[in-house]
Symmetry: C2
Subunit: 278 residues, 2 copies
Amino acid sequence: MNNLEILTASPTGLCFGVKRAIKTLEKELQNGTVYAIGSPIHNPQETYRLEKMGLIVVKNPSEVPNGAVCFIRAHGITPQMQAELETKNARIVDGTCPFVKNAQEKAKKLSQNGYSVVILGDVSHPEIVGINGYAENAATVLTTDDKVPKELFGKRIGFLSQTTQRVEDFCAMAAKLTAKTQELCIFNTVCKATLERQQAVQVLTEKADGVIVLGGRNSANTKKLVEISSSRVPTLWIEHANELDKAWLMDKHSIGIAAGGSTPDWLIQNLIHTLHNS
Amino acid sequence: MNNLEILTASPTGLCFGVKRAIKTLEKELQNGTVYAIGSPIHNPQETYRLEKMGLIVVKNPSEVPNGAVCFIRAHGITPQMQAELETKNARIVDGTCPFVKNAQEKAKKLSQNGYSVVILGDVSHPEIVGINGYAENAATVLTTDDKVPKELFGKRIGFLSQTTQRVEDFCAMAAKLTAKTQELCIFNTVCKATLERQQAVQVLTEKADGVIVLGGRNSANTKKLVEISSSRVPTLWIEHANELDKAWLMDKHSIGIAAGGSTPDWLIQNLIHTLHNS
């Protein structure tokens, strides 16, 4: 399409931690088969691409053959799982995000220093399962709306966050905990990546006639980007460039592109290429 | 007055820390002259009573004679002032409230462990001056409405409170600090005495036809009790039983009594006696 200006949100798509992990995995796949505990990225096209390169995704360390190469995704794993891999003489390729690693270390430090560890996050999320492992699997995991459980009243509490929580929610829970304790040690382990991506979409809506959000239909963070964008400008939510609705482009002079947190760069480039040739 | 029911708020008047300090001071005055750094209690009648027993109030350790007995009031003093008294061979009678002492110890611990100490409170209040002394006089003192100063962003912060602050305000500042730091160690040093006294007045208004609040006209905490009471029942604010307005009592069957934080028990007893004989 002639004269169509294409603007990309910055930052957008994969965060530093996931990009770094995938790069590490790709490098390792050049040497042969790599097992991964859990899918390295919540994107079917990207997972398929990596599987073609030799990736085998399993659920548990018990499924990894003795002496195999085993990749740990950005979310990290528990030290107990890591120990199981080591007893199998697996060569571990650690893609744990440094921000998640920091949260794991803080959980370990707090637990070792006798604090009752509290984590703000989703109890079933692999990142939380991993971090909790560093707190002897004894952490209390709370979500935003939770009250402070009575059994924590008056305890020495160590508090940290799943890296993708909103900082406002983390602060609100810190206030609730402050009211119920004499001693509270807080490590603010919120990563700014999610917030920065949301702010970037907002900036984009001020410059573009419409925004295309590229990301999985089941992705919570992508949905949030769509909400922000659609409240300001016409917004199209697609998973892949081949879903592009050309009629939607007709009256636009400038198009913004934003991507969910599990959308790899090559899918974004693919969309830009399609737009330039539409 | 016949059939007048008299109800006293519980707790009310002097808090544990001040009561304990005055008791210690009275005991010491039986042996002779005692110097005090600052007035032991913000009540002119009570100070006059103690001065008659041999109390001499001074402002600074430099005014205390060599070898004298020196009383430290419930608010506490700085370790630097304490050292000055020790070089004068003063015999120190320590009336520092244990809750204030706890805050001083926490400030020292945080300071020694490399935290930037932040205290919620009134920068000119003697309690804060004392606690700050234990943080090498380097603490940042914030009040409820303050923003977090930029120079604290990203620092390892140790946070505590003047003991008489409202816990809601302490929690709100904890949330603000959480947003601006990676590491925040909080000691909740708020003493519940002030809140309990306010709640006790509220309970009293549910039982009494009117409430007499006994306390200094310049006392902030007494004013707060009057506000709570007068929004619910007819309320009389007096400093001494001899100000009692008998006409005000005429239509009442039950009278509640509450006292400000610097009102000694004997003034309350005096009022009860006057009511019974009016």
